[in-house]
Each structure stands twice: as structure tokens, then as C-alpha cells.
């Protein structure tokens, strides 16, 4: 089946894969909001949401329904198009990263071998980095278009925070690239899976720590949630938003958290690799399913860590945030890069 010299079955296969991954991301993000409230409840010694459905499991749907049913308010003095564009951009940038994450190895269906990664491009890490740097626009445009001073201040804070921590994140990734020698995420996972090779966390512990801190800052999560510091900025860059547009902003934060957990698991914790298990001895479909479950388990652990930190550590002050970013994280990342470079050079000689 070829028209215009395109393999349409491949296109269909990829479209289905994209749809599945996006809906799965949305579903997981939906339940992350629920988990956040439950974890907060446990950490604060109270039951958390327990009314809707058994154990409160229907709570996220109730929340979503509430958001959709609320009245859409677009402020009179706002810039209408950009006001609507803002949440859309935030959501798009949050979802775009999932294209390069290897969610599992290959599965065999209907005689075709389907890779569980949408696109294994050979600049995978740089793609992630590009999408992260585009994530700023959702916040900036939303905050500016609201025509509200608090929103604008929060948007500027958010953007400068994202830019500051992007640098350290990029430098920590360069050190990782020196050890792996490839930018392809699929290849990075394969390397970690290979017998005799440990997960990258062993070779890059400092790099992982820097990446983790920067991921917190990029997701605007506590203790770096300054763009939404209620007691200084009322509510943050989404103050003027209501209904599902607000929902998009809140939701994109959870998707960001999910995707950055998946990226961290892929880069440093072996992706879909199960430790002490030789996947090549299993049937390919079985191995793929075990791999997906392994990746999801790692992601869930990271998401729990995100929440644990949020409900444990108080928020930074703005100057502390900038100090940490520019005067501690970047020099540390540079030192890590130099040491890694020296060791790699020494081992090759």
C-alpha cells in the first residue's frame, strides 16, 4: 500500500502509537493529581480525598468535570488570541517530549515488528532540550496576555527560572553524553541493558543530582514553585484563567512531571531495563511488556519523590533560587563535565 511513495501502514502504526502514548500520558497525569492529594494526605496525617468512588478513586474525574463545567472567563482587557494560545502552548510543549522516549522494546503484532518509541531520532537528547526550552512560551504568553501585573511578574519569574536552570541541565547532559557517546535515547537504553554495563547513575551520580534539581525547577515544582507563590503573587501566571484553560495549565505541570520522570529513568536508570534479567531469553512480546512495566515502576517512584519533596521542603526565596542556579549548579555542572572529560580521555588512552 504505497501512495506518494509513503508506507501508509507505517504512518497508521505511528498514529496509533502516538494516540496511545498521549492518552496514556494524560491518564497517568490525571491519576498523578489524585496521587498528589493522597500523598499530601498521608504526609500530613489525614486521609486525603476518599469520597468519590472506592478509596476516592473517581476524584480526578470529579475534579476534571468541575473544571469543564466552570464558566469560561476571558478578561476584557486581555489579548484574546494569546490568552487562549497560552494554555494550549503549555500543554503542547508538555506532550511533545514523549515522542522520543523509548517506552519499551519492540513488540510483534500481525507479523510486523513495532518499535515502542515514536521516533528514535539521532539527536534525541537535543530534541528533549529544545522542547524544554519551548515550554517557557506557554507561561510567558499566558502571563502577559492576562494583562495583570501579578500574572506578568509570575511569568517573568517563571521564564527566568526556566532559562537559568536550563543551562545547568544542558551541562549535566553533556557530561552524560561523553560517557554514552550517543544522543539517541534508544541507543542509550540499549547500552545500559547490555551485560556488564551498569546503569548510567553509577557513572554519572553528580550529573544525575544536577539533572534532578533542574528538573524540579523546570517543572515549577516545590521548592522551586516561585511562579505560583500564592502569598506573593496571589496565584501566579494563571491567575486570570478559569475553567479548562486553568485546567490545562495545572495539568501540563503534572504531564511535565511525568515526562521528566520518564526522561530521568531513561537516561540514568536504564529505561525499560529490568536489573538482573536477561531480556533476550524471553519471548519478544513478553519482554516488551515487562519492560514497559519496569519503566512505569521507575516513573512512579520518581513521581512519588517529586511529591515527597513538595510536601517536605519549604519554598526558596527568589534570590536563593537564582544563587543556587547560577553560583552553585552551573559551576558544579562544569566541574562534573571537566572531570568526566578527563576520565573518558584517560580510559581511552
Amino acid at each position: 500500500m504505497t501512495l506518494l511513495a509513503i508506507d501508509w501502514i507505517l504512518v497508521l502504526e505511528k498514529l496509533i502509537l502516538i494516540a496511545v502514548i498521549i492518552f496514556a500520558s494524560l491518564g497517568i497525569a490525571l491519576y498523578t493529581t489524585f496521587a498528589e492529594r493522597k500523598v499530601a494526605g498521608i504526609l500530613q496525617d489525614r486521609p486525603g480525598p476518599n469520597r468519590a468512588g472506592p478509596f476516592g478513586l473517581l476524584q480526578p474525574f470529579a475534579d476534571g468535570l468541575k473544571l469543564i463545567m466552570k464558566e469560561e472567563i476571558i478578561p476584557n482587557t486581555s489579548n484574546k488570541w494569546l490568552f487562549i494560545l497560552g494554555p494550549g502552548l503549555a500543554m503542547t510543549a508538555a506532550l511533545m517530549t514523549c515522542a522520543v522516549v523509548p517506552w519499551g522494546d519492540k513488540v510483534e503484532l500481525f507479523g510486523r515488528t513495532i518499535s515502542l518509541q515514536i521516533a528514535d531520532i539521532n539527536v534525541g537528547i537535543l530534541y528533549v532540550f529544545a522542547v524544554v526550552s519551548l515550554g517557557v512560551y506557554g507561561i510567558m504568553i499566558g502571563g502577559w496576555a492576562s494583562n495583570n501585573k501579578f500574572s506578568l511578574l509570575a511569568a517573568l519569574r517563571g521564564a527566568s527560572q526556566a532559562i537559568s536552570y536550563e543551562l545547568a541541565m544542558g551541562l549535566s547532559l553533556i557530561a552524560l553524553l561523553m560517557t554514552t557517546g550517543t544522543l539517541q535515547l534508544g541507543e542509550i537504553v540499549k547500552q545500559q541493558q547490555a551485560p556488564g554495563h551498569l546503569w548510567n547513575i553509577v557513572y554519572q551520580p553528580l550529573g544525575f543530582l544536577i539533572f534532578l534539581v533542574c528538573a524540579f525547577a523546570e517543572c515549577n515544582r516545590a521548592p522551586f514553585d516561585l511562579p505560583e507563590a500564592e502569598n506573593e503573587l496571589n496565584f501566579g501566571y494563571h491567575q486570570e484563567y478559569s475553567s479548562m484553560k486553568l485546567g490545562f495549565y495545572l495539568f501540563s505541570e503534572y504531564i511535565n512531571m511525568f515526562i521528566s520522570s520518564a526522561i530521568m529513568a531513561t537516561l540514568f536508570f536504564g529505561g525499560y531495563d529490568v536489573p538482573f534479567l536477561d531480556e533476550s531469553k524471553l519471548a519478544p512480546n513478553m519482554a516488551a511488556i515487562i519492560g514497559i512495566v519496569a519503566l512505569l515502576v521507575k516513573v512512579v517512584i520518581f513521581i512519588f519523590f517529586f511529591m515527597w519533596v513538595r510536601w517536605t521542603i519549604p519554598r526558596f526565596r527568589y534570590d536563593q533560587l537564582m544563587n543556587l542556579g547560577w553560583k552553585k549548579m552551573i559551576p558544579l555542572a562544569l566541574a562534573n563535565m571537566l572531570i568526566t572529560g578527563a576520565v573518558v580521555l584517560y580510559l581511552h588512552k
Partner: protein, 167 residues
């Protein structure tokens, strides 16, 4: 028309229309957003030429960093209101004529240039734009110019810090 050509024409049209909108939109923030669209379209062209590294770096540096800076400046200067002074009609006409002349010269040059007309872009099999080949070229064949340009960047950075420190 094959698929590559369809994508090429679509991206070209997108790039040209967005570039026009950069000039035509009254609101500077809109201009910045249209410029970001232009960069995306150009990155699409790079991907068609199999220059993936260039495409992604174009997005990171221009769409991701420089345009954020533009947005920052425009938002802080509050150019929202139409504060741009109205230029008179003669000045506009002179601008249009001189710009049109430049465009004509460029087009005629491109049409005459033998180097361009005899060479065609390699769409799928060209692999010089892949990151491994590009890195080898940069660090083997062009290592001295590369290092000199990085020293240039470093001095620019130091200069910016010095200017920023001066009160």
C-alpha cells in the same frame, strides 16, 4: 509531486507567510510569535535536507533562547500600545522602492549563479548534516577556526558580564 515536494512547498509557504506577518502585525508580541513560526518552518527545511543537528540547534538557540529574550524585552518595555511614530508617505515609498531593488538584484543573482543551478539539494542520502559527521568535520578539519570562534564567544561573554557589573 512526491511527498518531499509537498512538504517543501508547505514549509516554504508557511515560512513566507509568517515572515510577512512579522512585518505586518501591529502588535510586537505577535511579531515575535510569527518569527518563532518562521524558525520552525526553517527547521523543517533543515530536516528535509537530513540536517537534524542544525534543525534542532536552530530551535534551541533561536526559537528557545533568543526569542524568549525578545519577548522579555518587549513585555518589559510595554510596547503594547501603538507608540510607534507614524512615518510619512514619502519615506514609506522610498523604503519600498529600495527594498524592491535589493530583492530584484538578489533574485537575478540567484537565477544566474551556475553553482546553484547545476547543483541540487540531496534530500535523503545526504548525511553530512548528521551529528557524528558534523562533529568529525568540526573537530578534525576545522578545529582551529572552531577554537578561535569559541574564544570569540568567551570574550563576548566576559564583555557582557563586565558591562552588566558596571553600575
Amino acid at each position: 509531486m512526491n511527498a518531499t515536494q509537498i512538504v517543501f512547498w508547505f514549509l516554504s509557504a508557511l515560512a513566507l507567510v509568517s515572515a510577512l506577518m512579522v512585518l505586518l502585525s501591529k502588535n510586537p508580541v505577535h511579531s515575535v510569535l510569527w518569527l518563532i513560526t518562521v524558525f520552525f518552518a526553517i527547521s523543517g527545511h533543515y530536516i528535509l535536507l537530513n540536517a537534524q543537528f542544525l534543525a534542532i540547534v536552530n530551535l534551541i538557540v533561536y526559537a528557545g533562547a533568543i526569542m524568549v529574550l525578545f519577548l522579555f524585552v518587549i513585555m518589559l518595555m510595554n510596547l503594547n500600545k501603538q507608540t510607534e511614530p507614524q512615518k510619512n508617505a514619502w519615506l514609506k515609498m522610498a523604503g519600498a522602492i529600495s527594498g524592491g531593488c535589493l530583492l530584484m538584484i538578489l533574485i537575478s543573482l540567484v537565477k544566474q549563479a551556475n553553482e546553484i543551478t547545476t547543483k541540487t539539494a540531496r534530500m535523503k542520502d545526504g548525511d553530512i548534516g548528521l551529528i557524528g559527521n558534523l562533529g568529525k568535520a568540526l573537530f578534525h578539519d576545522y578545529v582551529v577556526p572552531f577554537e578561535i570562534s569559541s574564544v570569540l564567544f568567551l570574550s563576548a561573554m566576559v564583555g557582557a558580564v563586565v558591562i552588566g557589573k558596571k553600575d
